[in-house]
Structures are given as C-alpha cells and as structure tokens.
Symmetry: C2
C-alpha cells in the first residue's frame, strides 16, 4: 500500500483538519465530531445535511457552503458515520424551518441518518438517493445504490433551501431530482482501503468492470477494455433507456472521475456523450467533468444524466460557493 498518510487511525481527523485550515473562509469543524459545517451558519432557512463514509472526496465536505450543504458528516473510509455523529450535525446547525438529510442508499447510512433524524428536536425529512442503475440490489444495499448524481441533489435542493422554501418544498424538489436522475460507471482497477491495506478486488491487465460500486462492490459484468467511445456508447445507451429524454428536453451531464483517471480521458468521454445526446436533439444545459465523487485512487469514471424542468434548471444554475463547486 503506497499512500501519503500518517497513522491510519487518524486519517479522517487529519483530513478534516486539512480541509478546515485550507478553506477557513468556507467551512468549520463542529467540536468533538467528524462534522464539517458551513462557516456562516444560517438557521433562518431549511438546512441540508449529507455525508457518509470517507474516501469519496470532495464528497461531501467539498459541497458545504452557500447554496449547497449546511453540514457534511464523515465516517471512516467507506464506513457510515454513526448516528451520534449525524446527531451532532443536526444539533450544531438544526433550524426550526427544518432539516433535510441527503442520504446515499447504503444500509448503514440509511439506518444511522434516519435514527439521528428521528431523535432530533427539529422537523427532519430525508431523501434517499439511488441513482446508480447498474443493479437492483447490491452488496451493501437494498435497492439501487446512491452514487455521483447525489451532488445534483446537494446543488438543487440546496439552492431551493437558500431561496427560503419550506421543508416540504425542499424535500419535494430533492425527490424530483432523484426521480429524474440516473448514473452508471465502470472501473479499470481497485482502490486500497487504508485500514486493510489490500485491494478490494482484482482485474486482469486488459479487463474492466461495468457497473462497479464506489466502494468496489461488484458490478454488472466484466469485459475486455475497449475504446472510450465503445464504453461511452454502452453506458449512454443504458442511461437513455432509463431516462427516456425526448428531443428538446434539457439535461445536465456529469462525467465523474473515480480518482485516478486523468481529465484528458474524462473529456474524451464527455465529447462522445455530447455527440450521443446531440444526435437525439437533447439539450445539454450544463456539463461537469472531474473528480466529484471518488473512490480514493480508483481508475474509472461514471456518467450521470439529470433531466431538468423549469423549476430545477434555474436552481442548478443558481449561485453556489463551496470548495468543490463554485457558480
């Protein structure tokens, strides 16, 4: 295992300290917790809390700030944070206008976030994000997994909350985004969880895994590495079959790197995805290309497609000021 770390026991704590000293204008730590909160806490609006296991940076701490999340709770690498940590986030930033918990669909996250929500003194609602269309059920999941498309929930529900909307309206737009969102990824190799020191799976020199999860959970199938265009066509076909956009429909497109895939390759994929959408006269309103939800140093990528409407498009384009997404 070749990682630039100190004691493996403190990597999450040291990372959180690094984030805070580097971006002290945007985020702060909540004492005795693994919670990052936005710098200027605003309790006069619905607040959004997300989080999950670490190792997916910049998710989710990178999306804390104006127009997106109010707090992010970090677990150990690829492990859900405990309900006590989520409770500390709610306690620190909770608003009488309400709290929306944005939870990626993994059994541990759902259990711990919802338990904290039920124990809270504030009105709490949740959205369980399940954008990964690879599999109906998976290793750590009943139902579809939540993956990179989650950042669209942070952005759009975050902008809705910033506008002063009620908890039920913020919750409604979060559910609308989830209903109009789908993602599918592929991996070229494993990452190494620091605490174990070993690769979570192995692939042959010329093999990829389609539909792999962001914790290395098994995907749909393994196959030979083909061209970028062939893999992009396969993934876009699956996404389009799911989303069924019509000509002139507006969409947002996210080409997400899993960690070790160069931007050069992500842009080659973006080029083909745009071509495929253009051939169907689907209008791409916004494209994001880069590492937004990673699996540490895993090589690979995912594509997320979000159908927009008159409510969600301006919220997507609204101001945001976070570490990893400024608009």
């Amino acid at each position: 295992m070749k990682k630039i770390i100190n004691n493996v026991e403190y990597i999450v704590d040291e990372m959180l300290n690094g984030i805070v000293v580097s971006h002290s204008d945007l985020v702060q730590r909540v004492a005795d917790s693994t919670v990052l909160a936005r710098k200027n806490i605003n309790k006069n609006k619905v607040v959004l809390i997300s989080g999950g296991g670490s190792g997916h940076e910049p998710s989710h701490g990178g999306f804390v700030g104006e127009g997106m999340l109010d707090a992010a709770v970090a677990g150990e690498v690829f492990s859900s944070p405990g309900a006590d940590q989520v409770a500390k986030a709610i306690e620190a930033i909770g608003s009488d206008k309400g709290v929306l918990l944005v939870i990626k669909n993994y059994t541990g996250d759902v259990l711990n976030f919802e338990m904290a929500g039920e124990m809270s003194d504030y009105p709490c609602e949740s959205i369980i994000v399940n954008d990964d269309i690879a599999l109906e059920n998976s290793t750590y999941t009943v139902g579809q997994r939540g993956v990179a498309g989650t950042i669209y929930i942070h952005k759009i529900a975050g902008a809705k909350a910033e506008s002063g909307a009620s908890l039920s309206d913020v919750r409604a737009v979060a559910h609308k985004v989830n209903d109009n969102l789908c993602s599918l990824g592929m991996s070229l190799g494993p990452c190494i969880v620091p605490a174990s020191g070993t690769a979570s799976f192995e692939l042959k020199d010329n093999e990829i895994e389609m539909g792999l999860g962001i914790h290395g959970e098994p995907g749909i199938h393994r196959e030979e590495l083909k061209t970028a265009d062939e893999h992009t066509i396969y993934i876009m076909d699956k996404l389009l079959a799911h989303a069924k956009p019509q000509a002139k429909d507006k969409v947002a497109l996210l080409i997400n790197g899993l960690g070790a895939t160069p931007l050069m390759e992500l842009y080659i994929i973006a080029r083909k995805a745009h071509e495929i959408l253009g051939n169907k006269n689907v209008v791409v309103v916004d494209t994001m290309v880069g590492n937004y939800m990673t699996s540490m140093e895993m090589p690979g990528f995912s594509i997320s497609l979000l159908k927009l409407d008159n409510e969600t498009e301006p919220l997507l384009m609204a101001k945001a000021n976070t570490i990893a997404w400024k608009r």
Copy 2:
C-alpha cells in the same frame, strides 16, 4: 496500458473537443489548431497566452477565461506545441496593447513560444517560469523547471491584464511572481505516455522519488516511503530555505496533486504545511488543494509557496472565471 481512449493519434484533438462542448460558455477552439481561446475575446487589454505539452490537465486550457489566460496552446502529450500553433494563438487573440507569453521552462517550449513571439506583428513579451527548486538543470531544461506554481502567474498577471495595465506592467508583475515563487514535488510512481504505452520509470513498492519532474524526469534522490508529515517537513524545509519568509509575511500555498493521489492525502499534507507555516507566524492568505498541474495518472504531489505583497495579494484574490479556477 489501461487507458480510456480511442485512437492514440487523436487524443489531444478529442480532448480539446470534449473541453469545448463541455464548457462552451467559457472556451472555444481556434480553427485548424490546438488552441483554446476564451469565449469573449477582449482585444482592448494585454492578452496572456500559455500552453505546453498535454497531459497536465487542467493546465493550461482549464485556466482560459476572464481574469486569467486568453488562450492556451496544447502540444502532444509531454511535447511542446510547434511555433506554428503558438502563432495561431497570437493571430487569433493578439492585441495591440500587447501579448504576454507565459512559458514553463522547458527547452522546446521556450524555443517555440519565443520564435512565434518574434514572428508576431503584435508587441510580445515573455515570462519563463522556473519555480521547481529540485534541480538546477534537468533532462529537458537549462535552469530550473517550470511546474505547478505557473498557475499563480496565470492568475496574477491575468488579473493585472484584466485591470487594463500596460504590457510592461503585466510583464513586471509576472516576473515578480516568478521571483517570489518556489515549488517542490515527489512521486510515488510513473505515468504512462499513451503513444509509447510504457511507464517512464520504475519505483520499488516502498520507494518514492523526491523532486521528480512533471514528465517523469529524474529528481533529487530516491528514498523509502515515509509518513506524510515527514515528507511534508522535508519539502517545506527546502521551500522555506529558498523563500525565507519572515514572521507576518503573507503567502499563498498550493498543494497540487499529480493525478492519482486522493484529495484525502493532499489535505493531510495541507494540514502539516499550514502547521509549519503557522509555527513561523507566516500568514497563509490563500490555499489551493487539488489537481491543478498533473502528470496524467501519476501518484504524487507538489507544494508551491508564493510570497505576496500589496500588489500581488489583491490580484490573486480578484475575480476569475475559468473551468478550473473560479473566484
């Protein structure tokens, strides 16, 4: 070689097309060239052109836009663009107020950019960036190499140009930044240049190379992988010995990922670098953490330190609207 590409001959062209379709609000291609220009070309100010071999994304196309570069010229992977390509950039965006060429110090880049500048009809000046303090001379270099600190020249000279300053003033501030800038990096392993298909060097399972160049050029020495803190102390000691900041001096800090190193590790390094600067009462005005000048999928990082003054600090903090740096 496990890369998500199509025909290796077209990777730069396909990447440039991917960048343009993904960010059509910010950049455009200059016809029959490998030049990316900003969308709204402004010829009423000094214009900045940079570039170099591809494979360092988001450098340099990611820094084209308001407040930074007016154009970036892309060569093949790790190869300087020809003087003809640089000339096309000058022709497309050249301004009577003048052109500043921002050149990383590699023999090919210096030759080709300066040749194009000499042939140009516009007043042209250049700045040769040589921030890498690892070695006095290197494989492709007479003098120190230009590495990640170059993005500070893009930002600060770009903001100066945007303010309406003269060519000599923009050139002067670019030289001031270069004089107050130093960088040093280390690598945990090689990257693979697509055209050759093989790793540029090899390291043992527990070995790192200190001072490695962004094209895999040899560094200062090889040693065992130590803790993040030990490597950070070594690098910061070298940078501080070079920059000699005094108590209360203001600096900018860049923790730059070379490609495959997770943000988690970069933030652990950032935490230690801040601690070291804090112990000397040096004031860190701005910290950037992420992949800003990469070597494709190389694992490793560099640290850049820039001493600021009353002119450069507000220019660093001024508005920018590019793909990879928004402020």
